[in-house]
């Protein structure tokens, strides 16, 4: 039955340029609601929502939804007249919609007809009546901060107390606020308040050139620079159906897997440390440093911020540096295998990891879990295998999954993915195609749309791009999977002791900047 409904949508759909299969449908308000129900019944998840101000073009605001189905992405659009920019809330169908809708209201002043009424990204840094993403708002205008108290949900009862944490945290990490309600040490409720690193990315894109936007995309979330810049380039290149040279394709994928490796190695060390095994941090942080130094040799950068550019990659590494990288990866693989055995057989460590911060599979599915966190709950989705784009259509990774849903499962998935990435990198470094690493892209006509979708180390990263006049960007929306997985974290800590929060939090290692925009 649900398939019939999606078939009906398909009848009206058109293809959007992308590195994966994307179908777009325009609907009215009733269709907006119905599409959400059909998607949910078909097992699709809401990936993201974004709004656009098209009043200059046709007198409408638009709300766009992207749904991730098994083998394609759906983009549903709903246009609203300027006078009543209200659309049906999706928060009752897809929980992540609530925060996304709050963010869209703060930035664009279009409203869902239900859900949480509190602001999300606006913390008093600009007036309630100002909607920065509207086209008639000057991006340079600044206002003094007028902060007011944020009404957290209060938990009452005998012995219930609160612990406020943040936005500045104890370690060298990003800012955000966590409000714990506890009895004794046990967590009854965690409420997050995010948005502290909101720096106006979407508005900033609109003052950039299409051929420069990848630099900003790489800096939406610095630990996922390759994933975001590649997604941006896919969106741009697909508009002109450009096919980048084979050597550039492999170098991009190599960079994406190296980014996954660097993050997983860092996290595996930090997770050992947060569970009291400082030895793990010392060992894994040394492995990560060895990898980053090879990055610097091969690519001229420790973190690959400016490697993926429109048309290919920015530089062609020397054969000698790639050989050295290859040898280093072999050494790292040996060490990771040895350390995995040490972690697995360490009773004290496993005692801290097993059963801690658990999320059930049904819960994860209903919260729309994505990427690594979802795979650790037994939801074996990975874009590299589910909707492979080049070169993953020829080099399909085995999808790592573990059904347990606890910190131990997230450690286990990281080990499996680390070894899988090492295997992929080994294949590519052993048989690198020759030739150019960059091509000239043709000029892009105004008003075109393109979607880029990449499986970053956390999960699916999406860029929706629309070209403007004279080679400019009209609108660019970026989505980090942390939006969904922050909801998982709120559930994962319930009934745990508050002292385990750092360990549970690290096991997700979600992005603040990628979420806040």
């Amino acid at each position: 039955m649900s398939m019939d409904t999606l078939d009906t949508l398909e009848h009206d759909a058109e293809r959007l340029p992308s590195n994966v299969t994307v179908s777009r449908v325009g609907v009215d308000a009733e269709g907006w609601r119905r599409a959400a129900d059909s998607m949910q019944q078909a097992g699709a998840v809401l990936l993201t929502l974004w709004g656009s101000d098209d009043r200059d073009r046709d007198g409408h605001f638009r709300i766009h939804a992207a749904y991730l189905a098994r083998q394609r992405l759906w983009v549903i659009e709903h246009a609203m007249p300027t006078g009543t920019p209200v659309y049906p809330s999706l928060a009752m169908v897809f929980p992540v919609a609530d925060r996304l809708q709050r963010a869209i209201r703060d930035l664009l002043g279009i409203h869902a007809d239900g859900g949480d009424a509190r602001p999300w990204l606006r913390h008093g840094g600009w007036p309630e009546s100002m909607f920065p993403l509207r086209r008639d708002v000057d991006p340079a205008q600044a206002h003094a901060v007028e902060s007011s108290a944020y009404p957290f949900v209060r938990v009452s009862g005998d012995g219930v107390h609160e612990i406020p944490v943040g936005p500045v945290h104890a370690g060298t990490i990003e800012p955000g606020h966590f409000r714990f309600s506890l009895v004794g040490e046990k967590v009854l409720r965690l409420e997050q308040r995010l948005g502290y690193t909101h720096k106006g990315v979407a508005k900033r894109f609109e003052s950039m050139r299409l051929h420069d936007g990848h630099r900003l995309a790489a800096r939406v979330c610095g630990d996922s620079a390759v994933a975001f810049s590649w997604a941006y380039c896919c969106a741009l290149e697909s508009m002109s159906a450009a096919v980048v040279p084979p050597r550039a394709v492999i170098l991009r994928a190599l960079a994406l897997e190296l980014e996954r490796l660097a993050n997983h190695l860092g996290d595996l060390g930090a997770l050992g440390n947060d569970a009291g095994l400082a030895f793990g941090l010392t060992q894994f942080s040394a492995l990560k440093e060895r990898l980053l130094r090879r990055h610097a040799e091969a690519f001229g950068q420790r973190y690959l911020f400016d490697l993926v550019i429109p048309g290919g990659v920015s530089m062609d590494p020397q054969a000698g540096a790639l050989d050295a990288l290859s040898a280093e990866l072999s050494g790292i693989e040996r060490d990771v295998r040895e350390l995995r055995t040490l972690y697995t057989e360490h009773a004290g460590l496993q005692d801290r990891l097993l059963g801690t911060g658990s999320v059930g599979q049904a819960q994860a599915r209903s919260l729309g879990a994505l990427g690594l966190a979802a795979r650790a709950c037994g939801l074996a989705h990975d874009l590299r295998a589910d909707m492979p784009w080049p070169p993953y259509d020829r080099f399909t990774p085995t999808v790592a999954a573990c059904a347990d849903g606890d910190v131990a499962a997230r450690v286990q998935v990281r080990f499996a993915e680390t070894l899988e990435s090492l295997q992929l990198c080994g294949q590519w470094l052993g048989d690198m195609p020759a030739g150019e690493v960059r091509m000239e892209l043709p000029d892009t006509r105004p008003g075109q749309q393109g979607i880029g979708l990449i499986e970053g180390w956390r999960g699916p990263v999406m860029v929706a791009l629309e070209s403007g006049v004279d080679g400019g960007i009209r609108r660019c929306h970026v989505h980090d999977p942390s939006w969904q997985n922050w909801l998982l974290l709120e559930w994962a800590v319930l009934d745990n002791i508050v002292a385990d929060f750092p360990l549970i939090n690290k096991s997700f290692n979600l992005s603040y900047s990628g979420h806040d925009g």
Partner: protein, 173 residues
């Protein structure tokens, strides 16, 4: 346990005595210098005032066995009240402006501030806007900047060594 000890023995000592950033400054010499200035180890507080998380990754790397910051008597602290040096990354978002200012105010004098990364130094690619105040120095006094996107751990070490060597003593506070 035997396996862990065996692994530690085989790993050996990775710390680079006098990383080439600090050619003439060995960890011992740096430690002695810090001790003369503070009478104890140097304590750093880091605040992410709106960064993309790139700078944070390189600041974290200072703790790995190769750079071994703690070996030079420098460590990161959880409270600004224990800190001598603030490493602030930016651009400063309007939503973090107050938290950055309050962290700085909570630090006892004498204190130093290093603005880290291109964004902390000048706003970087984000610049100033409705959501961003740009550089750290637009909000609090800054003693030194470390450019780079992100700056390497070596560049961070150089800046820390230079500032704490008394090259410019902070007079704010």
């Amino acid at each position: 346990m035997f396996d862990i000890l065996s692994r530690i023995r085989r790993t050996g000592q990775l710390s680079e005595t006098g990383p080439h950033a600090l050619k003439q400054v060995t960890p011992d010499a740096l430690h002695a210098k810090l001790h003369r200035t503070f009478g104890r180890a140097l304590c750093i507080r880091h605040v992410d005032a709106g960064s993309c998380n790139g700078c944070e990754l390189e600041i974290q790397a200072l703790g790995n066995p190769y750079y071994n910051l703690e070996g030079a008597g420098i460590h990161f602290v959880a409270s600004p009240r224990h800190a001598d040096l603030l490493l602030a990354t930016g651009p400063v978002s309007v939503n973090m402006e107050e938290a950055l200012r309050r962290t700085y105010d909570a630090m006892p004098a004498p204190k130093w501030v290093i603005a880290v990364g291109d964004c902390g130094a000048c706003g970087g690619i984000f610049g100033s806007s409705y959501a961003s105040r740009g550089s750290v120095s637009n909000i609090i006094p800054v003693d030194a900047v470390v450019n780079g996107c992100p700056p390497s751990p070596t560049a961070l070490l150089q800046a820390i060594a230079k500032v704490t060597a008394g090259a410019r003593h902070s007079e704010h506070a």
